[in-house]
């Protein structure tokens, strides 16, 4: 076994901070694909992507609860919190990056890679060396040059660290309980928010993330009867839904239809620099980034003692949707018919907690 990388509360909080960034990092990817689908078409795909994105929001909130429980302060406004796309994922392979893509077979392939449950072949393999040029979603925040074999292994590391620290420090869970986000404020439809007050609830919260998402494979359905993300996306590849009792390689539920052409062909991982300076598109793209930054500020306040602010997040998300649509429905000049898209170039919004 390699040496543990979480040896103090500070280490733990740095890990949870990285987890927060990781959970958030997939959301722009899913939202771009989701909103690229022509409205009223591709219902099956749209619902699958949407629910996954919503569950990533649940995961983000669960991580914030764990962080608050151990006395941390979630900050979604720090520079670098939103990755620069394309970005690598630490899934043991280094031959693909995560892009902002329109809905396409390539996008679904990427979703499956993100969400693929992977357990390291042996405990030694959990931690891997980082190649110098890589931009990482999940590197170890405490041991430089180290990344994880998979997201599942990353969470295993956190849970083991939590258990170790909780055993050493009876005051580990001393966070202010009023900072917890509960079911009154957060609702996703795919799994309940868990308020974190102790080791058991912290582990339940992280376990839920792991099971729903990028975990170590607990089967097609999780303990609550929810399909894990990986299998949700696999349905798009099989063209058929799973139902209870199905094996991973043979879904037997209703068929699902996909029309890859009913999609706005958004430029892959667009940048503000791609938009003609001074154009309405450039202004709309910049406005989206400003709005998105403000939205992250709102979430940061909600995760720092004002959980009721999550109610405002509902209409904020409608506003962001409209903002994305303004971009996605317009062609990008000089891009061979490709359309504009949100760039998610959000630099630290700063001053959020003042």
């Amino acid at each position: 076994m390699t040496d543990p990388t979480i040896n103090s509360r500070d280490d733990l909080i740095r890990y949870l901070d990285a987890a927060l960034a990781l959970e958030h990092a997939t959301i722009p990817v899913y939202l771009t694909a989701y909103y690229s689908i022509h409205s009223t078409t591709n219902s099956d795909a749209a619902h699958i992507i949407r629910v996954t994105a919503v569950e990533e929001m649940l995961h983000l909130t669960l991580v914030a609860n764990v962080m608050n429980a151990v006395g941390g302060s979630p900050d979604l406004t720090r520079p670098g919190f939103v990755p620069s796309y394309p970005a690598y994922l630490p899934d043991g392979e280094d031959d693909f990056t995560v892009d902002l893509r329109p809905f396409s077979p390539e996008a679904v392939e990427t979703f499956c890679k993100i969400e693929r449950p992977r357990k390291a072949p042996d405990p030694q393999a959990r931690l891997m060396a980082v190649r110098p040029e890589e931009s990482l979603l999940v590197g170890s925040p405490t041991a430089s040059g180290i990344r994880f074999y998979s997201i599942g292994e990353f969470y295993e590391e956190i849970m083991e660290g939590l258990q170790r620290l909780a055993a050493e420090d009876p005051k580990l869970f001393s966070g202010d309980e009023s900072r917890q986000v509960g079911p009154e404020q957060f609702y996703s439809g795919g799994g309940m928010i868990i308020e974190v007050h102790d080791l058991a609830s912290a582990c339940r919260a992280l376990q839920l993330i792991s099971e729903q998402g990028e975990g170590l494979d607990t089967g097609v359905y999780d303990a609550e009867g929810e399909l894990a993300h990986y299998y949700r996306f696999r349905q798009l590849q099989f063209g058929r839904y799973y139902q209870k009792g199905d094996k991973a390689d043979a879904p037997s539920g209703p068929e699902l239809d996909i029309d890859w052409d009913e999609v706005w062909k958004v430029k892959v991982s667009p940048k503000l620099a791609d938009y003609p300076p001074g154009s309405e598109l450039a202004a709309a793209a910049a406005a989206f980034n400003t709005d998105y930054g403000a939205f992250l500020t709102l979430l940061t306040r909600a995760f720092n003692g004002e959980p009721d602010r999550l109610q405002d997040a509902v209409w904020w998300m409608f506003r962001l949707r409209d903002s994305v649509n303004r971009l996605i429905r317009n062609p990008l000049p000089g891009s061979d018919g490709l359309h504009a898209g949100p760039t998610f170039e959000v630099t630290g919004t700063g001053g959020a907690l003042s």
């Binding site: 099956d44 619902h47 079911p183 609702y187 439809g189 839904y241 539920g253 209703p254 209409w315």
Partner: protein, 640 residues
């Protein structure tokens, strides 16, 4: 949690095989009444056949979204806009309504209207029925509403009291999934069990409600010597909100999300979209498809859709129903149909207060009391509209979140009708077609486009205030549904004929409502823009003043319940006095319609009746003699 619809359930029952089965219960209509009864009876192990006139399409997410697409792309946003019109099972549509010239009934649409007042009242003939387009308000009736004759000398007493119905109200609130807070809903005698909480917490008042409340809360009103103070109060809603952890003794409540044949996560909470009527985009609003799905999942409920009940056959000796003859059409646009029969130990007509008596009368069953189809009731809606002095956030939130309920009851009811007042979050939508009419005006007459058009639209609609007064209509035998063989639909079914006038008792309430609205507008500093058009199809005059009266789709009264067979059609269990194995359920059983939207009370009555049906089934264990001699189970017929 999503509601899993068993794939293929609308196709799996073979009509010919079903014709040879003696079901425990045959139900006509897959709306909320039929679905609740089917779910409750199947849960008790009974075999049920449901006949539904609407299209035989599984309740899939994509099917629901096709309703949405139809709504979005339709220029008219009326109640029926999302739902496919079928010539075989036509639906009344508000846009069909025409002013009726004296002596000349309007026969142009499915619902024949002989007036004198035209009504735009509708119902929806698809799986889930009218709850597909309902708004979702779920107020309980007042205790006084059940004793109107005794207390005020008006209308008719129910054979049930509020206390009798209260436990079933609680059951209905669970089935529908009601969001409300007991402290907001305890008024004018409405009481709850000591520890009762609604399944979900109350939905918040809209910004507009709160703007109105600032000036209206505490406004004194004196009526018939009684003083009351008005207050903007939230309505209970059949829309998903925050589950109340204290519900069911602390077990909580799990909201029912969308109906789908596969796992989806949508609809478990209202998002504040503003088109509850005619369709919630995410199925956060309850519709009876959710309860129908539970029934079908039991495996004991067969469903045959595209099946329009044609005739109720009765044994002339015993009065018992022998079979229901129905016409099954192949496609909504085809004239061809097959005649089939359905047989059960019990029969339940669960269509609505127009189609129930229509079917009975078309079967020649006028009832020994002669009251079948009589005492048709609806709510008479009076709309008043104005512009508020400041931006009030109109068009935010759902269609309607709050209103004034203080004049639903009081001594004045001995003289004039009571009413509830809705504050409409969709501005002048109902009265004048906002925001579409504002948009057209800005473009056509204002030459606006782009940013200026967008801002102009916001500036206009965000000041709009519409108050809808839902005025009670008492039973009146001359308001009625009849049939006439000269008016039939494509399948040869006799069409309903509505004869309707607003009683003076109601008009006194209407006139008072108009006066009150002026006082409210003055208090709010609102410009009153209310203007009633003498050419409007529902224009009615009273004491020299004219009013536009609209229908509420709260159909009631046409097979009234009572304790005396000579003055009612059904008993307190909704069992026909004349036909002991027949139940006529729904709004038609109401002796008074009060000032409550009718669906919750329908649901409560049906929960209660289902128990009576189970008791009766247990009692009538003896085999029922089947009238099978000679008659083929079905025959092919060409359309006319």
């Amino acid at each position: 949690m999503f509601v899993k619809f068993p794939q293929g359930a609308t196709e799996r029952t073979d009509k010919d095989a079903a014709a040879e089965v003696l079901y425990d219960v045959v139900i006509v209509g897959a709306g909320i009444a039929g679905s609740i009864i089917a779910a409750q009876l199947s849960e008790a192990g009974k075999r049920v056949l449901i006949l539904e006139a609407g299209p035989a399409e599984d309740l899939t997410l994509r099917g629901y979204e096709s309703y949405l697409d139809r709504f979005y792309s339709s220029t008219s946003k009326d109640n029926q806009a999302p739902y496919p019109a079928s010539l075989a099972a036509p639906m009344p549509r508000g846009t069909d309504t025409r002013r009726i010239a004296p002596g000349a009934p309007d026969t142009s649409a499915y619902l024949v209207q002989s007036g004198p007042l035209a009504s735009d009242t509708t119902y929806t003939r698809v799986l889930g029925g009218t709850t597909m387009h309902w708004e979702g308000k779920t107020p309980r009736m007042l205790p006084d509403d059940f004793r109107m004759r005794t207390l005020y000398g008006e209308g008719v007493d129910w054979p049930l009291s509020y206390e009798d119905l209260a436990p079933y109200y609680a059951e209905a609130e669970r089935v529908i999934g009601v969001s409300a807070d007991v402290e907001d809903q305890s008024f004018l005698g409405i009481t709850f069990d000591e520890r009762y909480v609604y399944p979900m917490k109350g939905l918040p008042l809209s910004y507009l409600d709160r703007m109105v409340a600032k000036d209206v809360d505490g406004m004194p009103v004196e009526l018939d010597g009684e003083q009351t103070r008005l207050r903007v109060r939230p309505f209970p809603q059949g829309r998903n909100g925050i589950p109340n952890p204290a519900y069911d003794g602390g077990n909580g409540f799990v909201p029912q999300g969308a109906v789908s044949t596969y796992q989806v996560e949508v609809g478990e909470r209202c998002q504040g979209n503003n088109n509850c009527v005619p369709i919630c985009p995410v199925q956060a609003k309850y519709h009876a498809g959710k309860t129908l799905t539970v029934a079908l999942e039991s495996g004991r409920v067969d469903l045959i859709a595209q099946a329009v009940a044609y005739r109720v056959h009765v044994d002339p000796e015993t009065g018992r129903v022998q079979e229901i003859e129905y016409r099954r059409y192949k496609r909504p646009d085809s004239k061809a149909f097959t005649t089939v029969r359905a047989r059960g130990r019990l029969y339940v007509l669960a269509t609505n207060a127009v189609e129930n008596p229509r079917l009975m009368l078309a079967s020649g069953l006028r009832g020994s009391s002669g009251l079948m189809g009589r005492n048709f009731m609806d709510h008479a809606y009076l709309l008043t509209w104005g512009l508020l002095p400041e931006v009030a956030g109109t068009f935010r939130g759902t269609n309607c979140t709050g209103g004034i309920s203080d004049l639903r009851g009081g001594r004045f009811r001995r003289n004039q009708a009571a009413f509830a007042v809705d504050i409409h979050n969709d501005g002048w939508g109902w009265s004048r077609g906002a925001p579409m009419t504002d948009l057209l005006d800005l473009v056509d007459n204002g030459g606006r486009y782009g940013e200026s058009l967008r801002q102009g639209l916001v500036d206009r609609v965000s000041h709009q205030l519409l108050l809808a007064f839902m005025v009670e209509v008492p039973a009146s035998p001359s308001n009625r549904i009849t049939v006439d063989p000269s008016y039939t639909d494509r399948l040869g079914n006799m069409r309903p004929i509505l004869t309707y006038a607003i009683p003076d008792y109601t008009m006194r309430g209407v006139a008072y409502a108009r006066q009150l609205s002026k006082r409210i507008f003055a208090r709010l500093g609102a410009e009153d823009h209310t203007d009633y058009d003498p050419n409007f199809w529902g224009y009615a005059t009273y004491e020299g003043q004219g009013y536009e009266i609209r229908g509420g789709n709260h159909l009631a009264g046409t097979h009234m319940m009572g304790s005396d067979p000579s003055t009612s059609v059904v008993d307190a269990d909704q069992r026909s006095w004349d036909h002991q194995n027949l139940f006529l359920v729904g709004g038609g059983s109401f002796p008074t319609v009060g000032t409550s939207n009718i669906t919750l009370t329908i649901a409560a009555l049906c929960r209660r009746s289902a128990r009576a049906m189970l008791t009766q089934l247990d009692r009538e264990q003896a085999p029922v003699q089947l009238a099978t001699a000679g008659a083929p189970s079905h025959r092919e017929e060409a359309g006319r």
